[in-house]
Amino acid sequence: MSPLVTGAGEKPLLRIAMVGHVDHGKSTLIGRIRHEMSALPGTAAVDASVAGNWAFVTDQLQEEREREMTIDTTQTFLDTPVCRLVFIDVPGHQELIQNMLSGATRADAAVLVLAGDEGVQVQTRRHALLLAMLGIRTVIVAVNKMDTLGRREDAFRALEQTAVDELRALGIETSGVIPVVARDGDNVVHRSEAMPWYDGPSVMEAIGELELAVAPVDALRFPVQGVLRHDGPATIVGRVLSGSVAEGDALTVCPGGAAVTVRAIRRFPEDHAPAQTGESVGLVLDGPEPSRGDVLAPAGDLPQVTRTPAGRVFWLAETPLALGEEVALRCATQVVPVRVEAIADRLDSATLDPLPPGEALAAMQLGTVAFAAERAVVVETFDRMAGLGRFVLERKGTAAGFGIVG
């Protein structure tokens, strides 16, 4: 889980992705929430022209409205008395999976929307798999279009069981399964009187009860973004990925292992207080000057430094990732050319079934990939430190796949 970093006087942030199969009602659910919550002060009223077609709240492109389908991901904000909710709508269509990921990689939690009349479909499964891979393990399931099932309890319980089982197989324990009619507002914000057999929370109530796993307090990781030289001593700039850094700290530059000491913390206006997790700051160091891509860490607790990184990779580009191919691996502020050495344990993301051994990873396939890097890379396992445990694979500067260090 990414750390929820908020500055002084800012409310905590909870970013929720709406995921699931095409046309199961993700945009409609967000639009309906926006509509019902727009009585909140400081929230713009929903345009009257979208009444009844709640998906138009986020589907603002001409082609999205004409085709009645979300094409691109959208973020919409809702300030509640206790936190800021960011709803991330994503397209459900298979060919738009890159837009789904542009949204979902920014989420802390998810609502998996499942249409009652269709049940679990290809994209339901694929999106659930991606949530598990992205480390989003806080998931509410909304069983939508309950009207097509006569709002009946037995039909709901069967779908509830399927959803719970499928998510559990991916390592996700659901934070509630809710029968919903998004269009009419049943169990969206207010509890539905038309489904008296259900006594659980509405979607918004369930969101309000979510408790996010807090990232464990960890040793300092400071990926170097660049070096400023325009005045005085060279200043190393970057964002504190984890831990904190104070003047006088003795640190190690990874890779390489050079020892440095923090002579000064720099900000504008001048302020020398220690920098905390999430903060963008400048450091003046005594010792050899690090460069962009290096990671600063305390001598006693260093990240992995390796020439042979490996991870679970999900491939996006039309042209498969082939054995022996060279791509660029981007991790934190590092970009390192890597060659594909081995591909194993391939999986079809539509069925979650294993694939026979092969020498390439095609779009929508998942596999364990071992690389040989041109120079040493600094990584961590994703569970220990998400920011150094995830990477993007680029071809000609375009993200073609991504991976998680296991």
Binding site: L101, D231, R239
Partner: protein
């Protein structure tokens, strides 16, 4: 929020040899300029471009020249002189064509003339439904076009920079709302263009060209009062902007042609 923006600004500065920012003297791009100063410890190491349609409010020009001097800015002014000589204006032709000629085309000329690879802009997701779909790093083709339906993936904060893009638009304020900006202005003491403060019961909530912006009824004469007003308002931010009203998808069309 500030650290996220500074991270994006520094990422852009580290990656491109020639990067500039657009400054309209409004609250958003002035906050962006302030963030650039913070990112580079008090200096603005990149050129600051003002797309001057010549139809801006006089207060905008005064504000621009004052800060340019105080903050030691490398200010570049971009005007579509040919179109202006030809009498281009919102009264001559429709607003879509005017915005396109005096803003988008002027920007194209500036980028071509100065050879920038990347531009920082102060747009935010919550100000318009189409801007809600933007990325932090957004590539533009040679003809400036933005294909909103086929944007490259942007995963986490691992921003990719597409090789064949003609230039990239960088949006460090994407995650901030209108209220966030005003609270940030208050917290940081960022200078405010006087047009935002109420005079005779009216103030501007969004500023651009004088003929196409209408003030809203307001009694807010300080930043504190603006924040208090917005905390209970349910009116959308750009309600006073003529451009958005002309046609349902004007903003989308303008942006697909390279508008900001």
């Amino acid at each position: 929020m500030e650290s996220e923006s500074i991270y994006v600004i520094r990422e852009a500065y580290s990656r491109y040899a020639k990067v500039a920012m657009l400054w309209s003297m409004g609250k958003d791009s002035t906050s962006l300029l302030w963030l650039v100063r913070k990112a580079f410890l008090g200096k603005v190491p990149i050129p600051v471009i003002h797309i001057d349609t010549s139809y801006k409010f006089p207060e905008i020009y005064t504000f621009r020249d004052r800060l340019a001097k105080e903050w030691d800015l490398d200010l570049r002014i971009a005007r579509n002189e040919e179109a202006l000589a030809d009498g281009m204006g919102p009264k001559k032709i429709d607003k879509f064509a005017c915005c396109n000629a005096l803003k988008t085309v002027a920007l194209k000329q500036a980028i071509a003339g100065m050879g920038f690879e990347a531009l920082l802009l102060g747009i935010r997701r919550d100000e318009h439904g189409v801007r809600a779909k933007e990325r932090y790093f957004s590539p533009r083709a040679q003809d400036f076009s933005w294909n909103v339906g086929a944007q490259p993936p942007e995963l986490w904060d691992l921003y990719a920079t597409v090789d064949e893009a003609a230039h990239d638009r960088i949006h460090p304020l994407l995650h901030m709302t209108e209220l966030d900006i005003w609270r940030y202005v208050r917290r940081e003491g960022i200078p405010v263009n006087p047009l935002y403060l109420a005079k005779d019961g009216k103030r501007f909530r969004s500023i651009g060209c004088a003929p196409c912006c209408a003030p809203i009824p307001s009694t807010a004469t300080t930043v504190d009062e603006i924040i208090a007003e917005l905390e209970v308002s349910r009116e959308p931010e750009r309600a006073g902007r003529a451009q958005d009203k002309e046609n349902a998808f004007t903003m989308q069309k303008l942006r697909s042609l390279g508008y900001m």
